[in-house]
Amino acid sequence: MAELDDIIHQPLRLKIMAALNALPVEVGLEFARLKKLTGATDGNLGAHIETLAKAGYVSVEKAFVGKKPQTTVTATAAGRVAFARHVATLQEIIAGKQL
């Protein structure tokens, strides 16, 4: 029986992972865009990205575009697998296979 992933299950982290998984492999989202898509605040989003990064589910790349710092977040292979497993578990719960 599959278990829900506690790291992904938190609502904001679920949105972050959903957004990153909607992109092709190795394509990331800029922090500002992720903020707009999830409706999170800077601090909140930063903290949850850090949690996902510590779990190895996302990678964070910081670079300068011109003089502006730009942070890009990308789902890792492990993150994609974990997210797919989490979604499958949610579907199983809805189908009544788990309580």
Partner: protein, 183 residues
């Protein structure tokens, strides 16, 4: 463990986020196309106003430049997001839309003034249809330009219609592109 209602809510959240990402990607590339078309429509109308005799040639040039522009935007987007935006099917679709427009103008015996109003209204029809599927921004931009074009057609006399269209069509598409970029 969560119950099926909570699981269903989580899946709805995921679907909603994925839909937002897709819309954001569509808006990102569409905004570039709109900005390009805004500038080209402005230049096409202004050139036609200055040199009315050569209006048709200017518009052929505008369409040729826009085709090259679409290829460049497609290549840029592909290198950035690894998603192919425009392929042969899109270009064939654009060609069919243009061909049907030419067909209407030819068999409808449209005057130059009627054609000035027809083309933006005709193209905006497709924007509005896109709005039904991909986001309300297309619908708002299309409906606004159609309304302003009709006002110009009925109330702006003579060649001044081209100046009106430069502002309405060129300016409308440019503002629409900037709005989409921020959405």
């Amino acid at each position: 463990m969560i119950d099926s209602k909570q699981a269903s809510e989580a899946l709805t959240d995921i679907e909603d986020t994925v839909r937002r990402v897709r819309q954001s990607q569509i808006y990102e590339v569409s905004s570039l196309v709109l900005l390009m078309w805004g500038v080209l429509a402005f230049v096409g109308n202004i050139s036609g106003w200055f040199w009315p005799r050569y209006g048709l040639y200017f518009w052929f040039a505008v369409y040729a430049i826009s085709a090259v522009g679409l290829i460049i935007i497609s290549a840029y987007h592909r290198s950035k997001n690894r998603i192919r935006v425009f392929d042969d099917r899109y270009f064939l679709t654009f060609a069919l839309i243009a061909a049907f427009g030419i067909f209407c103008c030819y068999f409808g015996h449209f005057t130059p003034r009627q054609q000035t109003a027809f083309w933006p209204i005709y193209i905006m029809l497709f924007y509005m249809m896109a709005g039904v599927w991909f986001g309300t921004a297309f619908l708002v931009i299309g409906a606004t330009i159609v309304a302003l074009t009709l006002i110009g057609y009925f109330y702006v006399p003579g060649l001044s219609l081209l100046l009106w269209m430069a502002v309405v069509n060129g300016g409308g598409l440019t503002l629409g592109g900037l709005w989409m970029r921020r959405s």
